[in-house]
Assembly symmetry: D2
Homo-oligomer: 131 residues x 4
């Protein structure tokens, strides 16, 4: 459990919009992932080359306001729960004035690469959370 | 409330995989949408040219098994709740042998085109549900 | 050089459309890749687990007609040139009545996995081409 | 014809990578579009709400180096040809040190909204080009 918040600016792309003219619902989950992976990398957690894979076990999103092409988008996230081999991330998608586009949560599981069995969360990760 | 189930085959694309070698988590939500919109169209509900937009208010997915490139994927869905201007869809993502990849749910809201105010579900839609 | 043609049906997804209401231009290249990889797999060329990676060195597409959500889409492709470590694929995107949506070409290069140096085209691939 | 160059930073997303571990080839075309539409908007050309649609008639890309997740990516573009109802854009994809990832070109056609007939390029656009 941590109250430490991390933030990431997201670049909204024309291709993120669907034919309704707003950002497509599935793309919100891409935004969560973009923020999560960029923040992990900044914090020294190399999820692409280490022995641990962090995979999404559950994901949910409540869509509050449509996101338009010109919107300035920020994803704020924080670790809301830590288990043995899993943790929860909570997210808020906002513009800089605090207009709330969505709230979301993902349950992440750590897996040993190549084995697909749960792995204890590495020390480096636990330090990040306690930060 | 309906127990009527609809099914849709999904074509898994190479580009759906991420660098972990499995279908990316956000893409599952694209699969839900692909199934939902194809089934709506087949049932005579033209969500692109009518006065009603069906937008996703909430979405959640529990990821059970990774989907690989060669997998044969089916999305089964049914309307699990009907409100005045909203309804829930439940989903199962399986292969033809019943291997379960994921379960999911979306809360859909009907909006009047151009106004973004809730609209009563059209009669044609209610008939589909009672089917 | 081969006149042997291969075809692949493509499932058009709602998310493939952009806010202009038609399939986004970048998605055409995803369609080419989807057809190419499916046909390779069907022909016994396992581009994901063998020692050779087939990467795109050049890609071009001429967009003739917009693709809509309900369109039935087929990609026809054939190997139009074979070099030592590279080959060209030509594509036509059509509906079953022969309405032409696009023509395209990709120059593919075979690379040794992990090395990123050109690799001679494997015998299995050359047999496929000679068909 | 103009030698005026515009540049746009692109945020590379984890989801842009495919199972080869590099940015997928189709995504390069999304990068071109992202840069093009952002620069147009900055220059006061509102391609989403005006009477003119700018559509891609042809697109080509030469892939020089793979783009990785941590790469800092810039798209430089310039109008390389202007016709009556069409124009060409040339692109270079680089990192800040000048490492070249790709070169590309798109032929753009101006269409009257709703009619799909070619429209003369608006004065505002021509001024942008002469800049």
């Amino acid at each position: 459990m941590s109250t430490k918040k991390f933030s990431c600016n997201i670049q909204v792309r024309f291709a993120d919009l669907d034919s309704y003219g707003h950002v497509n619902n599935a793309t919100y989950f891409t935004y969560l992932e973009t923020a999560r992976t960029k923040i992990f990398m900044t914090q020294g957690i190399d999820f692409m080359h280490e022995d641990i894979l962090y995979v999404v076990a559950k994901a949910e999103c409540a869509f509050k306001k449509p996101i338009n092409l010109g919107d300035e988008l920020k994803v704020h996230l924080w670790i809301s729960h830590v288990g043995k081999a899993s943790f929860d991330i909570d997210y808020m998608l906002e513009d800089p004035e605090g207009k709330l586009f969505a709230t979301a949560k993902t349950v992440m599981v750590a897996l040993e690469k190549g084995k697909e069995t749960p792995a204890p969360l590495p020390e480096k990760f636990l330090q990040l959370v306690k930060g």
